[in-house]
Amino acid sequence: MNYRLLIYILIVLSGFLACTNSTPKNTTLSSCEINIFPDYKNVEIPVNIAPLNFKIESVADDYFVQLCCKKDTLIPNIKNASVSIPLNKWKKLLSKAIDDSIKATVFFKTDNKWSQYKLFYWKVSPDSIDSYLSYRLIDPNYVKWYNMGIYQRNLSNFKQEPILENKHSDQNCMNCHSFNNRNPKQFMLHLRANPSGTLIVTPDDIIFANTKTEHTLSAGVYPAWHPSGKYIAMSTNRINQKFHNHQSKSIEVFDKASDIIVFDIKKREITTSPKLTTLQRENMPTWSPDGKYLYFIKAPQRSDSIDFTETRYDLFRIAFDANTRSWGNVDTVLIASEMGKSVTFPRISPDGKYLLLTLSDYGYFTIHHSHADLYLFNIEQEKLIPLSNANSNTVESYHSWSSNSKWIVFSSKRLDGVAGRPYFCHIDENGIASNPFVLPQKNPDLYTFTTQSFNIPELIRDKVSLSQRNILKMIYQTPETISFDSLIDIDAITGATKPELIISPYERN
C-alpha cells in the first residue's frame, strides 16, 4: 500500500515538474517573424480586455512564450501550439502595463535548439472599453435560416451569454438589436416570422409592438435611439437582393424605396416628416449625441434605367426638437457621390466629435462589398479621414463606438472572406486608428471552425440583465398596434413615400 502511495506521489510530482516552465537558455535570435492566429501582433488593447489567446502557426518542434512588462513576467500555457493565458495573471499584468506595452517573446525549438522569433508587443491603453459586446450569431445565408441568436459577451473574460436564442422562439428570425447610448437597460430588437414584432425595453416598460402601419412601407428597420430615450428613429424599406456571378462579388442588397420614421415610445405612435419620406431613398438614421439632429443617408429615387451599381447615398441631417416633436431643415453633411462613393452606417462618437461611416463604391448594404472601408468624418472640421490602419482588402462595415469615444468595434471579413468578425481599434485625438484586433476567444481556433458571423457588433456598458424567460413571455403576446401620427399628411396607399409631400405648395397649386 505504501509503495502504491509512493508511486502515486512520484507520478504527481513528475507531472508537476514537467509542467513547470523555465525560459530556454542559450537561444539564438531568429530573423523570422512569427505567424500567429489571430494576428495580434503589435496592436493596442484596452486595459480591461480578455487574454489575447493565440495559435502559433510558424512550424517548430516546441514553443515557449513569455509575456513581460517591466519586471513582471507571465508564462502562458501552450498546448498543440495554442497559447492560453491565465485570466487572473493576465489581469494583473494588464493593470501594471497601463500606458506601457506587454512584450511577447516567443521561443521555438527545432533540431533540439532553441531560437527566438522577433518580438511583438501589445500596447495597453489606459482607455477602457465598455464591458460587454452584443452581436447576433448567424450563418452567412441569404433567404433561409435556422439557428441564430443575439448574444452578449463579457469583454474582460470569455463568457458569452444569450440575450435571446431562436431555438426558444420557434426558430424565428431576429435582428437589429440596438441600445440607447450603450445602456443595457434600454434596448430593442426586431423579430421576423412567428413570433414577429419589435421588442422595446426601457427602464420602466417592456413593449412588444408591430411597427408596420398602413401608412408605412414596412415595419421599422435599422433603428437608432434618441438620447432622451423617448423616441426611436427607424427606416422603412422595400428591400431586394440580387446575386452576382463574378468571383469578386456575391450578393447585392438594395432598396426599391425607403423612408425614415420615428417611433414615440410613450405615445405608441409613429411620426415622420415629409422631408424624411420623399420619393428619394432615406435610410440609416442616427442621432447626434445631444439629440438635436437626426443624421441619415439618402439616394435618388430608384428607376429601372439606373443600375444599382450607380446608386450612391449621401449624408444629410435634419434638426429635431424632442420636446415639440418638430422638424427643422435638412442640411447636407457629406456628398460622397461626388467622390464616386456611397456612404452608409453613420455613427457619431458620444463626444460628438467624429462620425464613423462606411464608404463603398455604391449602395448602402455594404456587408457584402469587398470595397467597403471605414472613414471618420470630423464633424466640426468637415474633414474625412480614412481609417487606413483599420481597413483591409475585404469588407469593413457595421460598427459602433465605445462610451468614452476612444474605441470602435467593427465587423470585418478579413479572416476568411466569408463571415464577419468583430474587430476593435483605438481612436486617438487626431482620429488615427490603431492596428485592429479581433475579439479574443478562449480557444483561438474558434474563428477557424465556426461558420457563424458575428453580426451587428454593439458595445454595451454592462450586462443585459433582462432574462430570456421574460423576453419570451413578451414576444408570445399579441404585438401592440401602433398608430400613425394623424397630423402628418401621408397617403395611406403608397405608404410614407407620398409624392405630394415632396412637391412644394407652389408646385402643387
Binding site: W145, Y146, H244, H246, Q247, S250, D445, F449, T450, R469
Partner: protein, 575 residues
C-alpha cells in the same frame, strides 16, 4: 430467470431478425436525409450539446445515426435498439419475480419504439434517450442500501436522466419510481425524491441551463409520425408495463393467444406507422442525396409519385448520367423549369440540389449561394463543405476554401469527401490543364451578371456564352428551353451541340425539331445533324392523330398512352 421468460427468448430474437430484414428493405438511408447529422470533432460544435437538457442524447443520436448511411448497419442499429430496449424493459420494468398475465408485455414499448423508424423524420435521439433512461433506472434498481440512501441516489439518477435525455423521460422515470415506492408504501422516500429532484431540475432548467418546457413539449408532440403522438405513447407504455408488473394476476389466457396478440400488435403498429408516400419521397431524396443516380431512376420508374422535388431529383439523376435530353419526358414533368431548379422545400433539399446543379453547370457563385442556403437548414454536411471548398478554390478565394476544407477535415464519417476534394486539388496543382478544377475555372463567368429569378434560360445563356465548351450548361439550358416550351432557342441549342461535337442530337431535341418542322413546314437549321426517320415519321403520325382525334376521353387517353414519353405530349398537354 424463470422458465416462462426463457420461453419468450426465441420469439424476442426472432422479432429482432424480422425487424432487421424489414428495415434492410425499408432502407434506413432514407431516415438519414431528414436530419442534420453532421458531426464535427471541434469543441465549438460539441460543447453546445452539453448546455441544455437532452443535448447528450441528441449528440449521441447524431453520432450513431451515421450508421444509417449503410443499409446493413442501419438495419442492425434499429434491431439493436429493439433488442436493447426490450431487454432493459424486461429487466427493470418487468422483473421476473412476479406472476404475470402476459410475458410478452415487456416487448410492447420496444415494438412501438421501432415502429417510429418507419417515419423518415424520426430522430434517433429519442431512442438514445430511452436507452439511457432505462439503463440509469436499471442502475437505480441495483442499489442495495437503506431506503433513504437509495432515495438520494435515485434522485441523482433522475436528475441525470433529465440532463441527458430531457424532461419527458425524467417525468416518465419519476412516475415509474413513484409506482415503485407507492407499492412498497415508503412514502417518505417518495417525498424526498419528488422534492429534491423537482427543486434541482427547476433550479437547473431556469438558472443554470435555460431549457423551457415548451421546447420539449413541441418535440414530444411532434407530427412527424403517421400515428399521432407516438412518442408519448411509448412513454406511457413504459409506465403501464411497470405498473402491470406490480400486480399478481393469475395466468388465464392460453400461451398462443398471447403470442398472436403480441405479433398482431407488432404488425398492426408497423403498418399504421408506414406512410407509403412519405417512404417513396424519402427514398428518392436519399438516392439523390447520395448521388445514386441509377438506383433513383430505377426506383422512380416503378413509382407514381409526382412532386416538384422528386421530379427535380429525377432530372438531376438523368442529367448526371447524360440521359436528360433523351429520357426526361419518360417521367412526369409538371413543374416547368422548377423541375430542374426547385425552390420550395423548407428542409433545404431544393437548395442542396441547386448547389449540385450549379456546380456541375459552372455557376460557381450560385454553388456558394445554394450551399450556404442548404447549410443554414441541413447543417454544414460533408457534401456541402466539399462544394464550398471547391467553389471558393475555383473563385481563387483561398482563405474561404481553406476554412471549409479545415471544417471538412474535422467532419466525422467524411473520408470519401475529404479524399475527393484533396484529389481534385492535387490534380489541379499537378496538371493545371486537364484536371476537373481547371475545367471549372474555365467555365467560371469572366463577366459579372445577375442571376435572374425564374429566368433560367437567360442565366444559362450567360454561362454558355462564357464558355462555349460547357457541355453540362448546354444540356441544362436545352432542358429548360424544352420545359419552358421556348423552341425559338432550338437552333441555338443545336449549334452549341455541333460545337460540342455531338454525334447525333438527343431524342427530345429531335422531337422538338420535328414538331417545329410539322408546325412551320420547314426544318430549323440543324447544322448538319440528321433527324431519325423513325422520330420524324412518329411525329407526323402523332400530329395526324391529334388533329383528327374525336373528343372522347378514351381516344384522348389512347393518344397519351401511344405517345407517352415524347416531348410532344408535354408540349401540347402539360400546363
Amino acid at each position: 430467470m424463470n422458465k416462462s421468460y426463457k420461453n419468450t427468448i426465441p420469439y424476442y430474437y426472432l422479432l429482432a431478425l424480422v425487424y432487421f430484414i424489414v428495415f434492410l428493405f425499408f432502407n434506413s438511408t432514407s431516415i438519414l436525409i431528414y436530419q442534420n447529422l453532421t458531426l464535427r470533432t471541434t469543441p465549438n460544435f460539441i460543447t453546445p450539446f452539453f448546455s441544455y437538457a437532452g443535448g447528450i442524447s441528441e449528440l449521441l443520436g447524431i453520432l450513431l445515426s451515421n450508421l444509417y448511411k449503410n443499409p446493413i448497419s442501419g438495419a442492425l442499429l434499429i434491431s439493436s435498439i429493439y433488442i436493447l430496449s426490450a431487454y432493459l424493459t424486461k429487466n427493470i420494468l418487468y422483473p421476473s419475480k412476479h406472476s404475470i398475465t402476459n410475458k410478452y408485455v415487456f416487448i410492447l414499448p420496444a415494438i412501438v419504439l421501432v415502429s417510429m423508424h418507419f417515419s423518415p423524420k424520426h430522430s434517433l435521439s429519442f431512442d438514445i434517450g430511452i436507452l439511457i433512461t432505462l439503463l440509469l433506472l436499471y442502475l437505480s434498481h441495483k442499489i442495495k442500501t437503506t431506503y433513504y440512501t437509495k432515495a438520494f441516489f435515485q434522485t441523482l439518477i433522475l436528475i441525470s436522466i433529465w440532463y441527458t435525455s430531457g424532461f419527458a423521460l425524467y417525468a416518465t422515470s419519476l412516475l415509474i419510481i413513484t409506482i415503485h415506492y407507492a407499492f412498497s408504501k415508503h412514502f417518505k422516500s417518495l417525498i424526498i425524491i419528488w422534492l429534491l429532484s423537482i427543486l434541482t431540475i427547476v433550479f437547473l432548467s431556469q438558472i443554470v441551463f435555460f431549457s423551457p418546457l415548451k421546447n420539449e413539449l413541441n418535440l414530444l408532440l411532434t407530427h412527424d409520425y403517421n400515428i399521432p403522438y407516438l412518442k408519448p405513447i411509448v412513454l406511457i407504455l413504459l409506465v403501464i408495463v411497470y405498473a402491470l408488473s406490480k400486480y399478481n394476476i393469475p395466468k388465464t389466457k392460453p400461451k398462443y393467444l398471447k403470442l398472436a396478440l403480441t405479433t398482431g400488435f407488432a404488425i398492426g403498429i408497423s403498418i399504421l406507422s408506414f406512410n407509403k408516400t412519405q417512404y417513396t419521397i424519402s427514398k428518392i431524396l436519399s438516392y439523390g442525396y447520395q448521388n445514386k443516380h441509377q438506383k433513383l431512376i430505377d426506383f422512380v420508374s416503378n413509382t407514381d409519385i409526382n412532386s416538384q422535388l422528386t421530379t427535380a431529383n429525377t432530372n438531376y439523376a438523368l442529367f448526371s448520367k447524360g440521359e436528360l435530353l433523351d429520357k426526361m419526358f419518360f417521367y412526369p414533368q409538371n413543374y416547368g423549369n422548377q423541375g430542374m431548379s426547385p425552390n420550395t422545400n423548407p428542409n433545404g433539399f431544393d437548395a442542396f440540389l441547386n448547389m449540385k446543379l450549379s456546380y456541375k453547370t459552372g455557376f460557381i457563385n450560385e454553388t456558394i449561394r445554394w450551399a450556404m442556403e442548404a447549410a443554414s437548414i441541413m447543417g454544414f454536411n460533408a457534401e456541402i463543405l466539399s462544394h464550398l471548398t471547391l467553389a471558393h478554390y475555383i473563385n481563387a478565394n483561398n482563405k474561404a476554401s481553406n476554412k471549409y476544407k479545415a471544417l471538412l477535415n474535422k467532419t466525422a464519417f467524411a473520408t470519401k469527401e475529404i479524399k475527393k476534394v484533396n484529389k481534385l486539388i492535387r490534380e489541379y496543382r499537378e496538371n493545371t490543364i486537364s484536371s476537373e478544377l481547371a475545367k471549372k475555372i474555365t467555365q467560371k463567368p469572366f463577366n459579372d451578371f445577375i442571376t435572374l429569378k425564374g429566368n433560367h434560360i437567360l442565366n444559362y445563356e450567360w454561362v454558355i456564352t462564357n464558355d462555349m465548351l460547357n457541355k453540362e450548361a448546354c444540356e441544362a439550358f436545352a432542358a429548360i428551353c424544352l420545359l419552358d416550351k421556348q423552341l425559338k432557342y432550338l437552333p441555338y441549342v443545336v449549334r452549341k451541340m455541333k460545337q460540342l461535337n455531338y454525334k447525333s442530337l438527343p431524342i427530345h431535341i429531335q422531337e422538338a425539331a420535328c414538331y417545329l418542322y410539322h408546325k412551320n413546314n420547314t426544318l430549323p437549321n440543324l447544322y448538319g445533324f440528321k433527324l431519325d426517320d423513325k422520330i420524324m415519321r412518329k411525329s407526323g403520325e402523332y400530329l395526324t392523330m391529334k388533329q383528327s382525334l374525336p373528343k372522347t376521353e378514351e381516344d384522348f387517353n389512347r393518344l397519351l398512352e401511344d405517345y407517352s414519353g415524347t416531348y410532344w405530349i408535354y408540349f401540347d398537354f402539360v400546363e
